[in-house]
């Protein structure tokens, strides 16, 4: 029994997580829907009445209720995992990553799930907080809808269906992500 608790509470390897995500995708398809999380952003906009001023949000959002419930489940799952299934150990990042981030002035990379010096309400109104949280969030919301999907919709569902459109989107994800990581983060992280 102690063994099981130990296995569950230690971090799960990629070969558990990857197949589990594919099976979740299958379950959603089997229940007559699809795996695409960012659609919730559009649904919530519509829920708040955005359909009155913009045809893009003028659709029967109630048909997407299942996806909103899935999102509530995701929050719940995050809570359960952090409260009851966590070992509290630091994330086993590669040595290179740790050294690099320390060089940028981040203390104890991996000790928390996110760098708390950036992702906190105290830093929200600093330039760093605005860039990482507000601008970053905006790009995620704008980009996913422009590209018609996020990691779940394109990288997992779309690539699984061998869709060329999704491959282009994933290439775009990496062009954007690499540009920020290689050229912008070295400038703004130490600031």
């Amino acid at each position: 029994m102690n063994n099981i608790i130990e296995i569950v509470s230690s971090p799960w390897p990629w070969w558990i997580a990857g197949p589990a995500i594919a099976l979740l995708m299958f379950a959603l398809i089997y229940f007559g829907n699809s795996f695409g999380f960012s659609a919730n952003f559009r649904t919530i906009c519509s829920m708040f009445g955005a359909g009155k001023s913009c045809d893009f949000f003028d659709f029967d959002w109630k048909k997407q209720t299942w996806n909103l419930v899935f999102a509530i489940g995701a929050i719940l799952g995050g809570f359960i995992a952090s409260q009851y299934l966590s070992s509290g150990d630091a994330i086993a990042l590669s040595e290179k990553t740790i050294t690099e981030l320390q060089g940028y002035g981040l203390e104890n990379p991996g000790a928390d799930i996110v760098p708390m010096s950036i992702f906190s309400f105290e830093s929200l109104f600093t330039l760093k907080g605005l860039i990482f949280i507000v601008l970053g969030g905006f790009c995620v919301g704008f980009g996913t809808r422009y590209a018609g999907g996020c990691t779940s919709g394109h990288a997992i569902s779309g690539l699984s269906d061998l869709q060329p459109a999704s491959l282009i989107a994933v290439i775009g994800f990496f062009i954007g992500g690499l540009t920020i990581t290689y050229f912008i983060l070295p400038l703004i992280l130490p600031a």
């Binding site: 099976l23 996913t144 422009y146 990691t151």
Partner: protein
């Protein structure tokens, strides 16, 4: 009750992504610096099994839970919307260290400031909806 199964599936999603550290900003940074196999292993193995599952669905003409034939709609192919939208999403992914699903899961993990990123994401989606006719697709 109709929606209960989605609550369970969402909960499993949240647990898996938390336990495999996929919601960590650090893991996303590490991925974009090619310093660990972890994220590539997750996405790669999900896609390999996903391709197998999707092929089985199509070749066996599988029916869904209600007995209806499963139809996976193909995405209309073009370049601009996927490339440009993808790049903008990539900017946000590397900055926030999270895509939309992990943002919600992070909230469950107690990183409440992520609600601001979610609100900002909603605004981003709204602005896209407003100006999409002017964008190349």
């Amino acid at each position: 009750m109709k929606y209960f199964k989605y609550l369970i599936l969402g909960t499993v999603f949240g647990i898996v992504l938390t336990k495999a550290e996929l919601i960590s900003w650090f893991r996303i940074y590490e991925m974009f610096r090619f310093q660990s196999f972890h994220m590539y292993g997750v996405i790669g193995s999900a896609v390999v099994l996903g391709v197998i599952i999707t092929q089985i669905i199509k070749r066996t003409k599988m029916k869904d839970a209600k007995g209806e034939p499963i139809v996976i709609a193909p995405k209309k192919l073009s370049i601009w919307r996927y490339l440009l939208g993808g790049i903008i999403f990539g900017f946000g992914w590397a900055l926030t260290g999270a895509c939309p699903g992990p943002m919600f899961i992070l909230a469950g993990n107690g990183v409440f400031v992520i609600f601001v990123a979610i609100a900002s994401g909603l605004l981003g989606t709204f602005v896209y909806g407003k100006i999409r006719h002017k964008l190349p697709h």
